[in-house]
Amino acid sequence: MPDKETPSFEGLYKAHHLKVQRLCRMLLRDLAEAEETGQEVFLKMFKQYQTASWPNDWSAWLTRVTVNACHDRRKSAWWKWWRSSNGEVQLADYPSSARTPEQEALGREQQIHIWHAFRELSGRQQEVFVLRYLEGWSTEEVAKTLAISEGSVKNHLFRAVHRLREALKNNGEGL
């Protein structure tokens, strides 16, 4: 039972729900499915919150649970593969606010090409890339979370980076 010094469930939800939803949207193609998975993650968090064994780091725990939930959702939803069609990034709705000079230099089309290339990565490559570069985890932590070897993590990372760089170069040549 949490006391007054420990974070409340509402506080944890407010602090992390954007990150969880973002992760789900990155790792799943369907928006509704991403929202469902996000709710599942917070339901698990609620159950964990009611137990006596709290994780040391709620953020890392949520990231791990989210990635695994998305992984399970992709595996189990074979019929959704048939239902789903090719997802394309909407140009009109893409946010255009550039924060750094590099992003300003990077054209909008180029950003969309990167997103397309990311969507074309395998599920495992997406998971590894997100955990390593977007969440900033170490290779060892990624391997432990995904239950694969560090060598596999490096291989997945290299392939993912190679394909993303190719997309970047192809777009640069096309411009």
Binding site: R22, R25, M26, R29, D30, L31, W81, W82, S84, S85, N86, G87, E88, V89, Q90, D93, Y94, P95, R99, T100, E102, Q103, L106, Q111, I112, I114, W115, F118, F129, V130, Y133, L134, T139, K154, L157, F158, V161, H162, L164, R165, L168
Partner: protein, 193 residues
Amino acid sequence: MIRCLEDKTLFLLSEGEASEEQRSHLKSCQACTERYQEIVRDLRLITQTLQREVPPLRLTTSSGSIFFRSLPIAAGVLLAIALMWGESRLWRPDSSSEQRLSGDISQFLEQVADAIFDRGSMGEVEPASSDSDLASVQVALGENCSDDCRGLFNESFAANTKSKTKAVDRPVITAKRRPIDPAMQRMVSDRTE
């Protein structure tokens, strides 16, 4: 001096791995240094792009895509239908063989009924006369037999032959069951009383 590094080695260098020899080569080789810096720059741009708001997806459907996605399901349905049809053909006997079997059973039952009841007339069976039996024995043993004796034998033999012929030649292919022989009924009722 080692050759220029591969892309994967440069990537591992950006991850903080690789051997000391590879690191020293990277410092000394201008081409590898440029490639390394390009990898780091691209990786930073990609990461910054993907860290921004996830763009919404637009679901585009094409008839070709739906067609190819439907192929496995259509094949499965066709296979299931074929299996059901084959199973029904395998386990359901055709009507002609069923009728033939029914006819055989009817014939068998008719013959059994004849054997039990019809020939029956167990109550009507005339008791073999001792004279005809004696005549039969005498003829069988080749003993001399008088004209009366031989006549009794012939009469008895003819009667038996006639009854057997009658039983064999009777048409039996009919599905109707015969009513119980009245003589049999009488015999049964006499015994129960």
